[in-house]
Amino acid sequence: MTLIEFRNVSFVHQTGVTALTDVSLSIGKGETVAIVGENGAGKTTLVRHINGLLKPTKGSVLVEGKDTRETTTATLSRKVGIAFQNPDHQLFSESVENEVRFAMKNFGFGEDLIAQRLDWTLKFFGLDQYRKSSPLVLSGGEKKRLTLACILAWDPDVVVLDEPTVGQDALQKEKLGQIFKLLQSTGKTIIIVSHDVEFLWPIQPRLVVMSGGKVVADGQISQIMGNRELLEGARVTQPQLLRLYQGLASRPATPFLDVLEARDWIGGRKQKPEAR
């Protein structure tokens, strides 16, 4: 079922910069979509259309079949949660817990539900010990994580994350990967904007490649990542595991998704006794 549809969308910023040119895209319920592309390709601009912050200059955007021009951002946001690139553009409360409560209060959740979801989210994102601290004293990575927590707290159907891995250490990235798996299993529609192909690769999302305001490719990540020329244009590099896979003389039917898998295959193929 199509949940989000871009119909020939073009967008010109007020400064006259054309950020999107004739973009058509449809995203089904429960899909995981990653959007990649060079800096200034129009990824953030695209994503801002989904909850109606921006309205297309030409064409239309439909969410659940309804034109975003006909509703408000506040209404759409109940369904579409967008976490933006820069955490400093949204944190304002005197404490971390109030920061997470803010949106739930705006949406009119009951106190019990708010308390319950607050507990869950803070624990889940490893922010529980900062409950009463000011969001402004958190580290960069923690602030970023808090913004994700703020969005997931109200349990939107569509989760849009703009560069979620920026500034996260290895452990937090791995946790983020787990969060995506969890969200996928609960049937959420996920849209990730990211430059981090190594992070995206194991999630195996549908990949949308943007370049110069246009969608230049759309399909399974393992297929698109095979096309070097295309990737170069959008300044995307191939994931290391795929490069390794392509370099092998004999290889399994599908690319490796993690290092252990690759190691086992290579180790097994060579059939060398391991050096002791």
Partner: protein, 247 residues
């Protein structure tokens, strides 16, 4: 909002007016300013306003000045209403409100056509202390940045279900908190970072730093500045001091 805010922010344009020495631009702008203050009839102010718009046309910035006028138009209406209600008469109320528009657009002409760099040169030329110049120019340069910040913050909070236009006056004022706090915090952080970055690049290490660019009056600037000054002085003499010319 965005549309209105363009009226005082410099945008790079190639035009005969932009090419002028910044001092000449300041002079022209000040001449209009003084004339607006001196004017005593509605016809005069309107003539001045038309002249400003002509200059704006030459500077290819008519639209931006029009924005300024549209924006200050609200205040002008207010000024008109107050003066009229307090019994100053229709003509006087009109004079004051149009004069206000003329004053605002005369200064706008200068700011729209003068880059922060040129502003810096002018202030240095006026021997304003260097730290003051730097603070002022940085503030001007950061106006567009802070504006962009404000829009992005508003977007982020709208995406979290905040509705600005909802509720009574008190609620609306409270709705500003999620916007203003990040805006102020960001600006403070940014200025701190800027200060550190400047010091790391040896700001203030020599008492008299050299400049890459300087101002030089060319014939072109003199050809605009001198006649305009003469013209304005003549007008001022005739209008204000009622000097009659016997020719």
């Amino acid at each position: 909002m965005y549309w209105l805010s363009g009226g005082f922010v410099f945008r790079k344009v190639i035009s005969p007016f932009h090419r002028l020495d910044p001092r000449a631009k300041l002079l022209v702008s000040m001449e209009f300013f003084v004339l607006s203050l001196l004017s005593s009839t509605v016809v005069e102010v309107i003539l001045i306003l038309v002249a400003i718009l002509l200059v704006a046309t030459v500077a290819k910035s008519l639209r931006r000045i029009a924005r300024t006028i549209a924006f200050s138009g609200l205040f002008a209406v207010f000024i008109f209403a107050i003066n009229f209600l307090f019994g100053l008469g229709l003509l006087n109320a009109l004079l004051y409100s149009v004069r206000f528009l003329a004053i605002i657009s005369s200064t706008s002409v200068f700011f729209v056509t003068t880059s922060p760099d040129e502003l810096e040169q002018i202030m240095k030329w006026m021997r304003v202390p260097r730290d003051v110049v730097f603070a002022f120019v940085t503030a001007v340069r950061f106006i567009p940045v802070v504006m962009l910040d404000a829009f992005q913050i508003m977007d982020a909070q709208k995406s979290r279900g905040l509705e600005f236009e909802k509720g009574n006056v008190l609620k609306r004022v409270r709705n500003l908190v999620p916007i203003l706090i990040p805006l102020v915090v960001n600006s403070v952080i940014r200025s701190g970072e800027l200060a550190e970055a400047m010091e790391s690049r040896a700001y203030g290490s020599t008492p008299k730093p050299t400049s890459l660019y300087g101002m030089r009056l060319r014939w072109y600037d003199v050809a605009v500045a001198v006649p305009s000054l003469l013209l304005v002085s003549a007008v001022a003499l005739v209008v204000v001091f009622h000097v009659t010319l016997y020719i």
